[in-house]
Every structure is written in C-alpha cells, then in structure tokens.
C-alpha cells in the first residue's frame, strides 16, 4: 500500500476534466455524460454494498424515490430551487433506507438481492396504481433555478445544471472515498471476507451493513433526483421497474468495486456504448451489450476499476 498515493488529487482532476468538457464536447455527449453521472451515483451506492459482498437487485427503488421526491416537491410544493429539491431527494432516500435497513440487514446473498427487488416492485405497483402519483405517465417538471439562476428559454441542459450535477457527484465521490478509507469503511472489507470471524472480533456486523445500506440508498436517491432535474420527467417504468435495477447491477459488475472512479467510468462506458449500439445496431444492441459484459468478465474480472489498480509490491 502506498500511503502517498493521492486519490483526492485524482478526484479533483477528474471533476475538473468533466467541468471543462462543457466547452469541448458536443451537446449530445454532454447529455450522455450528465445522465451517466446520475446513474453513476446509484452504482457508487451499489459499490458500497459490493464491498460487503452484497448485491441489491432493487436499487431502482431509491432512484425512483429520489426522482419522485423532486418531481412531487416541484409540482405539489412549488419548490423550484434545484438545491432544495435535491436536499429533499437525499432526505427521502436517507429516511426510507434507514427504515428498510432494519429489515434487509438481516438477510444475505440472494435473499438480500431479491428482497430489495421485491421492495422495488412493490413501489412500482403502488405508483402505477396511483392516479395521484401520475400512474404510468409519471410527472414532469419545467424550469428549475440553480442557486437562484435560470436561463430563460434555454435547454434543460445548461452550464448551471451540468456543473451542478458534475460537482455534486464529485462531492459524493469524495464522501464515499473518505468512508472507504475510514475505520468504519475498512470494517466492510472484513465483513465481506469472513462475517463470522468479524463478529467474533467484535465488529458490529449488522450495524455496518445498515450504515452502508443507508449511504447506498441515499446516493441512489440523489442520482434519481438529479436525473429528473436533467431529463425533466420521471415514470415508474424507467426507474422502479426491475429492468432498471438490473441495468444498475449490470453496470456495477462491469465497473467493479475497487475504487470510486470505477462506477462513474462504468456508467459513462455503458451509456456511450448503448447510445452507439442503439444508433448502429438498433435491433441487436442488447447483444452488443451482452458481448461487452462477457469480454469484461473474462479480461477484467474485477471490473473496469482494475485497469487503474495499483500493483502490490
């Protein structure tokens, strides 16, 4: 382990690169970058669970909750400031994951994964059957203020929304980085490695799983909230349905859990590949994605993040 290896500096460069990209990339690419960052936050949340050896097939639920929190606050409470809307989505994600965490933390392996999927499908069912929640049509939002600033008549993707998403994602990445380096974060490695041994050592296994679950759910809700700010619309099928959760797991596996950059790179890689595959192979794009996952599993079994893995001396 190299103590001098500075991940914080790398993160700053990473964020700086993407902020500057606003002036360099075409509009369609910027839009894909932003959407990748929104999804990347969910995958960042899944990374925390993967560090525990757990996978959630239902994180679309938190993505959906965060998105609906923003859309409903906008439409019902007339809140138009992006920062407040995002704070609401974070709070909703935090509270729901805190409450559900008491239940799911008792399960492991496939039971944990499927339980989350079941919860996600329950949410999907509730929204689809509720006219007041927009049913299958969901909600739309119009202009949003970013720290009091708005560009009238401009596209939803503008310098404010772009930098808001990138910088907020960067802040979350730094929080996750800090968490994984902390004493609390290192307990995740021990629990993944040998839960019984961890419990004997005195590690509060369930409490650590709960904490990681809350952090993970909150990140996913934030991703959903930012997605609504970017896209301006949310439906249950695009968020809480099992295929969306499956997509997050797909990208999480592709990314690996070695570092906080991997989920963002994984999400970027996936979104761009999907865009191009859809464009060039509209009828067989799923096959292209499948082949890429197979190649990834064979050549990068620890995920995209392993490209940057430091060699152990």
């Amino acid at each position: 382990m190299n103590l001098k290896y500075n991940e914080n500096l790398l993160l700053l460069l990473f964020i700086f690169f993407f902020v500057v990209s606003w002036f360099l990339l075409p509009d369609y690419a910027l839009n894909t970058v932003c959407l990748s960052f929104c999804n990347g936050l969910v995958i960042l949340g899944l990374l925390l669970l993967m560090r525990l050896g757990l996978v959630s097939f239902g994180h679309g639920m938190y993505y959906c909750l965060g998105g609906y929190a923003v859309a409903m606050s906008y439409n019902f409470l007339n809140i138009k400031e992006a920062l407040f809307l995002i704070l609401i989505s974070i709070t909703v994600g935090f509270l729901i994951s805190f409450a559900l965490g008491f239940f799911v933390r008792r399960f492991r392996g496939i039971f944990f994964a499927m339980l989350n999927l079941a919860l996600s499908m329950i949410l999907f069912g509730i929204i689809v059957k509720s006219i007041s929640l927009g049913s299958t049509d969901g909600f739309g939002i119009k202009e949003v203020y970013y720290f009091g600033q708005i560009i009238e008549g401009e596209k939803r993707l503008n310098i404010y929304s772009y930098s808001f998403i990138i910088i907020l994602s960067g802040i979350m990445m730094s929080f996750v980085m800090k968490y994984l380096k902390s004493s609390s974060g290192k307990m995740l490695d021990a629990i993944k490695e040998n839960e019984i041994r961890s419990a004997y050592l005195g590690i509060a296994v369930n409490r650590h799983i709960h904490k990681a679950y809350i952090f993970s759910g909150t990140l996913a809700a934030l991703g959903g909230g930012l997605m609504v700010l970017l896209v301006g619309h949310i439906t249950p099928e695009d968020t809480a349905y099992w295929t969306k959760s499956g997509e997050f797991v797909f990208v999480a596996i592709l990314s690996g859990s070695l570092n906080v950059f991997a989920p963002l790179f994984g999400a970027l890689f996936f979104e761009f590949i999907r865009s191009y595959a859809l464009f060039y192979f509209p009828n067989t794009w799923q096959m292209i994605i499948g082949i890429i996952l197979i190649i990834g599993i064979i050549y990068l079994p620890e995920g995209i993040g392993s490209i940057f893995k430091k060699r152990r001396n």
Partner: protein
C-alpha cells in the same frame, strides 16, 4: 485466582465431554492441556470462551461469574483465544488484519473521520509483527503465508486488546517438526512479556514439557492429572492413556 472453574459438566447426547471439572488458574501461568482425541480438551476451552454452554457448573474470572456470558462478552472482559484452524481474513494483507483488529479492540470501528490505514497504525502493526518475528511477511496477503506464519498471525490477532488469558488451540498443529519449537518459543516469549496467562492444548509432549509450567491431563471428560510437567507426564494413568510408554 484469575480463573476458577467449579464442577463443570457437558454432555453431547450420551457422551460426557466434561464431568465435574474443577480447575483454577493463577496470573502468568502457562498451562499445557493434554489428552487423546475426544478427551474433552477443546470442549473445556469452548466452555471457558463461551462457544459451548455448560450443562451445569460455574466459571469465574477474577471472582466474577462468567458462565452465562456469550463469546463477545467473554472476549471483552479479557479471555481471548486462537483456533486450531487459523481464523484470519485470508484475502486481506497481514497488516490489514492487524490494523482492523486493533481498531475494533480500541473501540474505533465506527469512525468516519479517521483514516484506518495511517502511518501510525502501520508502524504499530509492524512493531507487533516484530515481537513475533513475523515482520518479513508484512507485505503479504494472509493466503500467501506458510501455515506456521498463519498460526502465529492468528495468535497475534488474539492478543490484540491485551487479554488476561489466552487459550491456544493446538498452536503448533500443521507445522513441521523442525519449526514447532522455534514457533512456540517465539509465541511464548512474546506472550510472557505481555503478562498474559496461557492455556494451550497440545499433542506434542516435547512442546508441553518445554513450555508449560503446569500440565492438565484430560481423559474421558475428566481431569486425570494436574501439576508440574515432570510429575504429570510420568504419572502412571497419564502414561497409559495419553502420553504412551515411549515418551515416559
């Protein structure tokens, strides 16, 4: 007395693994527990460390009854153990194993603000390895260690948190005959410096004779002999049922 065991009994079905065991231990003693397979040695250690609940009897530690405490509570009051098969985090590094254990024993497992792998923590872990002559393995993953080193690491992990008693379940099993004495010498020397009392289960009588200052011999769930090694290892019943005539 540091540890006091009174009329401890344990049955597994019709088999008695412990029959009215009375035992006591003073501070800084190094006790070798011997006995053939199924004699009740490991059950005895499991009952002291809370892994197995006794059917009847009492266990006192520093005058306080601990019979009904669970594994974690017993560990917290100062009775630690190592295992016959080392229980370490195989895919983590040697230093990582030590640092994580140290963080937990110092009640520091919930901190979000402090980094775990600081230079200070690394130095502390390396110093611990030095005490057990294991510093050459500091950059290895545990799964890369030879069996002897893995055993010693398990014991180092067990002494983190400064217990008053440590129970070592066959500390030299799986280690080559040549290495046994060296490994045991290193372990006992380091543990003695820390003023920790030791109970070790061992099948190798040479090791018991050399390192124990008291021997407890088990047979059929009962204590057959308890005393100085030179006396117990020559006791008629002990020779007949446990040691074998060649050693005596």
């Amino acid at each position: 007395m540091l540890l006091d065991v009174k009329r401890l009994c344990k049955k597994f079905g019709s088999v008695s693994a412990a029959k009215d065991i009375d035992f006591s231990m003073a501070k800084n003693e190094v006790i070798g527990v011997i006995g053939s397979n199924g004699a009740g040695k490991t059950t005895f250690c499991n009952m002291i460390t809370g892994y197995t609940k006794a059917d009847s009897g009492q266990i006192f530690f520093n005058g306080k009854e601990i019979t009904n405490l669970n594994v974690q509570e017993i560990k917290n009051i100062g009775i630690h153990r190592s295992f016959q098969i080392p229980q370490v985090f195989e895919n983590l590094g040697v230093l990582e194993n030590l640092i994580i254990t140290d963080l937990v024993s110092n009640n520091n497992q919930n901190s979000f603000l402090e980094d775990a792998y600081t230079e200070k923590n690394f130095i502390k872990a390396i110093n611990l390895l030095k005490k057990f002559s294991l510093e050459s393995f500091k950059d290895k993953l545990v799964k890369e260690l030879p069996q002897g080193a893995r055993k010693v690491l398990d014991i180092i992990i067990a002494i983190i948190g400064k217990p008053e008693i440590i129970l070592l379940d066959e500390p030299t099993s799986g280690i080559s005959t040549n290495e046994k004495i060296v490994v045991m010498e290193t372990i006992i020397k380091a543990i003695k410096k820390l003023n920790i009392a030791v109970i070790f289960i061992e099948h190798d009588m040479e090791i018991v004779e050399k390192f124990a200052n008291r021997v407890v011999a088990f047979y059929n769930g009962q204590i057959l002999g308890d005393g100085r090694p030179e006396e117990i290892l020559k006791q008629k019943d002990v020779v007949k049922y446990i040691v074998g005539s060649s050693h005596a």
